[in-house]
């Protein structure tokens, strides 16, 4: 058993997301940083899709009621197990009674914004419509269909399992860096209404820095920068959208749809942040700035391959650690 000791809001149970229910109006949800989730799960010998706790607000504290291996990935948040400082992207063994504390993300301009706490066997919550992710809008999935709060008790499906611990990974922010002029960047494929915006706005979109405003969350990131002006007003009919779609409401300030995004929308679409780069956005802190880089289809597909290759490499590294003779 694991008890949440902190009142820090907005921590949720997430897996890789809920696919196949878009036609019922159900968005995918899922981890904001899928690389952190998949890699943490691989370290534990879990399925990559096992559910974990995503923590976006710090400090966050919980107590292990039984022995349990865990992997802490995503933002480096100066974690401590009781008084012992933990390395980021590391797999550890907790003993019954120990308290895990996640502090503020560190790392200066490189810091992330969400920690992913993966547990042996995954967080044991029921699957709803094929996923354990929390559907906040629909109030189902995850832990009782809501964010965690103080006093909640969760169970790790593999708490008793013996698990090789005491090794780590180089985080993808270092292994797969992407910056433009020193600013974190994400790649974008233009979408249907791209050419409906003024040429100067299109140029400004690629050339400018975009601030992630305080009105940003798992539903979407509201950006601030030079307003994007349509050549003529566009009133769209509602249509399917996916996480990553960059909508431009009438005020010209773009909104990037994130994992809790609605599965449909009606604002003009400027472009879509490619799936392979969405984890980067998931880790971009509020108040930070990002740049956009235009991608071709083939480049976007190559980026997906690059992510898969990184995960394959993680799998091999983990296999080496798990098969090497024990030193402890």
């Amino acid at each position: 058993m694991i008890e949440v000791l902190s009142s820090a809001a907005l921590a949720t149970v997430q897996d890789l997301g809920r696919t196949g229910s878009l036609r019922w109006g159900v968005g995918t949800s899922g981890a904001m940083d899928k690389l952190a989730l998949a890699a943490g799960n691989l370290m534990l010998g879990n399925e990559t899709n096992a559910a974990a706790i995503e923590v976006p607000v710090f400090p966050f504290k919980l107590r292990f009621g039984e022995d349990c291996a865990f992997a802490l990935t995503g933002a480096d948040c100066a974690a401590r197990l009781d008084e012992q400082l933990l390395m980021p992207w590391w797999i550890c063994q907790a003993r019954a009674g120990q308290v895990l504390t996640l502090g503020l993300p560190q790392g200066g301009a490189q810091r992330g914004s969400r920690a992913m706490l993966c547990l042996a066997g995954g967080v044991d919550v029921p699957e709803v419509l094929g996923s354990r992710s929390t559907q906040l809008r629909g109030a189902f999935g995850g832990h009782e269909g809501r964010a965690l709060r103080r006093g909640d008790v969760l169970r790790a499906a593999g708490a008793g399992r013996t698990c090789r611990t005491g090794f780590g990974l180089v985080p993808p922010a270092l292994a797969l860096p992407l910056q433009v002029d020193g600013v974190p960047a994400v790649r974008v494929l233009p979408a249907a209404e791209y050419l409906g915006f003024e040429e100067a706005s299109r140029a400004a979109f690629w050339a400018g820095e975009w601030k992630i405003t305080a009105q940003s969350d798992r539903y979407g990131y509201r950006l601030a920068g030079e307003a994007l002006r349509p050549i003529a007003a566009m009133e769209m009919r509602s249509h399917g959208i996916v996480p990553g779609v960059i909508q431009v409401p009438h005020n010209g300030q773009p909104i990037i749809q994130m994992r809790d995004a609605q599965p449909s929308g009606g604002y003009p679409k400027f472009g879509t942040v490619i799936e392979a780069d969405l984890w980067r956005l998931g880790q971009a802190p509020i108040g930070s700035r990002i740049r956009f880089v235009e991608a071709s289809w083939d480049e976007a597909v190559a980026a997906l391959d690059e992510v898969q290759a990184w995960l394959d490499k993680v799998r091999r590294i983990v296999d080496l650690h798990r098969s090497s003779p024990r030193r402890d």
Binding site: L129, I241, Q262, S264
Partner: protein
């Protein structure tokens, strides 16, 4: 926007959006349902999701290169040209609505935009039987066809951070009822109560494309 030709556009590497030409109309929407049914069987397609006179296809396998992408787009166009209307006739559900007041905070904006009185707006809104064209937005939410164009009102300049479940609203030429509380860019003109979604049921949504909604005026608050 009324496009003269069908178009296909990208939603990143996750999905394609097919938009049918012409006005929003039941006959065209019935072809969208038919296209969805066919495309759902294609191996590249994870899910075929009808929208309003459009169809989103999410990928089971992302097309490996531009040639494969173009082939899929061509197949989609051909399937649309061949698609015949799929008439779905479901049940009619009546929803009692209180228009205006606290439950309809944007009625004034619709009055301002349309130049009509509250009574005229309520009358035009509650007269039709609205077919469910598609589900989307949030669990159980129905996009409805058949709204009188005289009460069309553009979406709000900035989305409202939360409207309650049961909110009856207008966005552009469309109307609908929210199934749960959440953000919305639409103009809320009234409220009703109805449970639209239960994740433990199969299917989880109470209404499906082809079902119909009638709004009954329970009251008008000023």
């Amino acid at each position: 926007m009324i496009a003269p030709l069908a178009s296909v556009s990208l939603l990143g590497t996750t999905a394609l959006l097919f938009e049918a030409p012409g006005e929003l109309a039941l006959a065209s929407q019935q072809r969208i349902w038919s296209l969805a049914r066919e495309a759902q069987a294609w191996p590249e397609v994870r899910e075929a999701v009808p929208g309003m006179n459009n169809l989103m296809l999410t990928f089971m396998q992302t097309p490996r290169n531009e040639a494969a992408l173009e082939a899929l787009e061509a197949r989609l166009h051909a399937a649309w040209d061949a698609a015949e209307a799929l008439p779905l006739e479901g049940r009619v559900v009546e929803l009692p609505v209180v228009y205006g007041g606290e439950g309809g905070p944007h009625m004034a904006d619709v009055v301002l935009h349309t130049g009509l009185s509250v009574e005229e707006i309520v009358d035009l809104h509650s007269t039709p039987v609205y077919p469910v064209y598609a589900l989307g937005s949030h669990p159980g939410y129905c996009y409805l066809g058949g709204m009188d164009p005289r009460i069309a009102t553009p979406r709000r300049k900035v989305p409202v951070l939360s409207i309650p479940g049961g909110a009856v609203s207008i966005g552009g030429a469309q109307t609908g009822v929210s199934a749960s509380a959440g953000p919305s860019g639409w103009n809320t003109i009234g409220s009703t109560s109805m449970s639209f979604f239960d994740p433990t049921q199969d299917p989880p949504a109470m209404l499906q494309p082809g079902d119909m909604i009638r709004f009954r005026v329970e009251g008008i608050v000023r």
